[in-house]
Symmetry: C2
Subunit: 301 residues, 2 copies
C-alpha cells in the first residue's frame, strides 16, 4: 500500500498547490476592488479564506492545463469566480431560515461570526462579483460570455438554486430515488460540471473536449454528493469541520437514508468509473483528473 | 395648469407602455426558462409582476430609442435584467434580518407571502438570471459583456450592496451629509445610472452619449432617493403601497432628517436641473427623459 499512499500524498500536494493559487487570485481581486465597505469585505474574506479544499477551482485549472497545455489568465478568473459562487451558496445555505448551521469548516458560519444581514449581503456580493470579474477581466469577449453563461446556468434557478429549493422541500417528506437524483444533479453536480467546462472554455478547447469534461464533471459531482452524504453518517463533526449527523436530524433525503450505506458505496464506485471513462481518451495528461475521481471513493472529510 | 396635467398624463401613459412591454418580456423569459421549481418560479413571478413602476427598465428602453432611433433586442434583455436585479434587491431588503418589511407595493412582501428560505432563493435566482440572460440571448458578445459589466458594477459590493450595507450601519448613528450622499449614490443612483447607460450600450451609442446618459441617470437616481425620503415623511402607507414613516422609526439617515423638508426639496430641484442639463444637447428627441426628471419633483408615490 506504499504506492497508494504516495499517490495520495502527491494528489493532495497538487490540490493544495491549486488551492493556494486560487487563494492568491481571490486575495488580489479583493485587494484591487475599490469601494467595498470594510465590514462587508471582512465577511467576504472570512468565508473565501476559510480553508476550503477548492476542488471546483482546481478542476477549472486542471482542465485548462489539460486542454491548453498551460494556465490561461481566463482560467484564473474562472477559478476565482466559481469559488465565489460556491462560497456565496455556503453562506446563504447556512442562514437560520435555510439549513441553520452555526459551524462551517470548523469555524463559526458567516452569520454567526458577523450577523445575518451582513451574511445575506456578503453572499449577494460574492454572487455579483463572480459575474463582474469575467466581464471586467477576460480580454476575449466570446470567452467571457461563454464563461458567464456556463457559470450562471449551473448556479441559477434551473441549476444549483433549483437543487437547494428541492432539497428544502424534500425535508421530512417521502423521497424517491428520482427526486434525490434531481437534487444531487442540480444542487451539486451541475457546478462540478461547470467547473470542468469552464477550464476547457478558458483553454479554448475543442467542442469534443468541452463536452467530455462537462460529462466528467457531472459524474464527479454526483459522486462527491454521495460521498458527502456518506460522510455525514460515518464521520465525526471534528473530522468534517461542520456538524455531522445533520442530514438525519433534519430528515434530509440522502442516498444512505434511501438505499443504505453499502448500496451508496456501490453507486459511488460506479460514478467514479464513469468519470474516468469519460476522460480516458485524453490519456496520461489527464492523470490528475483520474486521481480526483479515485480520491472521491476514499474521502474522509 | 391644463397643459401640466396633459403632460403628466402623457408621461404616465408612456411609462405604462414601457412597463407593460417589460412585463411581457419578463413573462416570456420565465415561460422559456425550463427547470425552475414551481414554488420558486411562483415567488419570482409574484415579485416581478407586483405592479412596480419599472422606471429603471423604462430608462433602458428610452435611452436605447434615443440613441439608436429604435428598440434593439439587446435593450429588451437589458431592461428585463435590470428589473430582475432591482426586484432581487427588494426581496432581500424586506427580509426580517434586513429592513423587516411585511408590505411591498401594497401586498405581502415575498417572505410573508411564501417563506424566508424561498424569498432568499428567489432573490438569488433573479440576481443570477439577470446575468445569465444577456450572456444567453444577446448576439454580439462585446455588447453582452459590456451590459453584464455595467450592471454588475452598479449592483455589486462597490455599488448597490455597498449602499445597503452603509444604510444599515447608519441606522441609529450620528450621520453626516457626506455619509448620506455615499449611501444614496451607491444604494440607488448607480443603478439608475446603469439603466441609462445600458440603454445607450444596447443602442450602440457613441462614448459621448453613453457618458452623458450615465451622468443623467446618476442625477435622476439621487433625486429619486431624495423624493423617496420625502415621501416616507409626507405620504401615507396607502399612497405608498408600503409602510410609511419607516425611515424615522428605524432611525434611518435621510435628507429630511438631516437637513429638513424644505432644504431637501431645494436639493431635489437642483438635481433635476442638473439631469436636464446633462441631456440638453440631445434636443427634442430627449423630451421623455426631461419629463422623467421633472416628474421626480412632483412624485406622490
Amino acid at each position: 500500500m506504499q504506492i497508494q499512499t504516495t499517490d495520495n500524498q502527491a494528489f493532495r500536494a497538487q490540490l493544495a498547490e491549486k488551492a493556494d493559487l486560487t487563494g492568491q487570485v481571490l486575495e488580489q481581486i479583493l485587494a484591487d476592488q475599490a469601494g467595498i465597505p470594510p465590514r462587508l469585505k471582512a465577511a467576504m474574506q472570512y468565508m473565501l479564506q476559510s480553508g476550503g479544499k477548492r476542488i471546483r477551482a482546481a478542476m477549472v485549472l486542471w482542465c485548462c492545463e489539460l486542454t491548453a497545455g498551460k494556465l490561461t489568465p481566463a482560467a484564473r478568473i474562472a477559478a476565482a469566480a466559481i469559488e465565489m459562487v460556491h462560497t456565496y451558496s455556503l453562506i446563504h445555505d447556512d442562514l437560520p431560515a435555510m439549513d441553520d448551521d452555526d459551524l462551517r469548516r470548523g469555524r463559526a458560519s458567516c452569520h454567526k461570526q458577523f450577523d445575518e444581514a451582513t451574511a445575506i449581503l456578503a453572499g449577494d456580493a460574492l454572487l455579483t462579483l463572480a459575474f463582474e470579474l469575467p466581464a471586467q477581466r477576460i480580454d476575449d469577449a466570446q470567452t467571457a460570455v461563454r464563461i458567464i453563461r456556463t457559470l450562471a446556468e449551473a448556479a441559477g434557478p434551473s441549476g444549483m438554486i433549483a437543487g437547494q429549493m428541492a432539497d428544502m422541500e424534500g425535508e421530512h417528506t417521502a423521497g424517491t430515488l428520482e427526486r434525490l437524483r434531481y437534487i444531487h444533479i442540480n444542487k451539486t453536480a451541475k457546478m462540478f460540471s461547470a467547473a470542468a467546462g469552464l477550464g476547457a472554455i478558458a483553454g479554448q478547447a475543442s467542442e469534443q473536449d468541452v463536452a467530455a469534461l462537462l460529462s466528467y464533471g457531472l459524474k464527479i459531482g454526483l459522486g462527491f454528493q454521495i460521498a458527502d452524504d456518506l460522510l455525514d453518517v460515518t464521520a465525526s463533526s471534528e473530522q468534517l469541520g461542520k456538524t455531522a449527523g445533520k442530514d438525519a436530524a433534519q430528515g434530509k433525503l440522502t442516498y444512505p437514508s434511501l438505499v443504505g450505506i453499502e448500496e451508496s458505496r456501490v453507486l459511488l464506485r460506479r460514478l467514479t468509473d464513469e468519470a474516468v471513462e469519460a476522460i480516458r481518451y485524453f490519456g496520461p495528461p489527464a492523470e490528475i483528473l483520474r486521481r480526483l475521481a479515485l480520491e472521491m471513493q476514499t474521502r474522509n472529510r
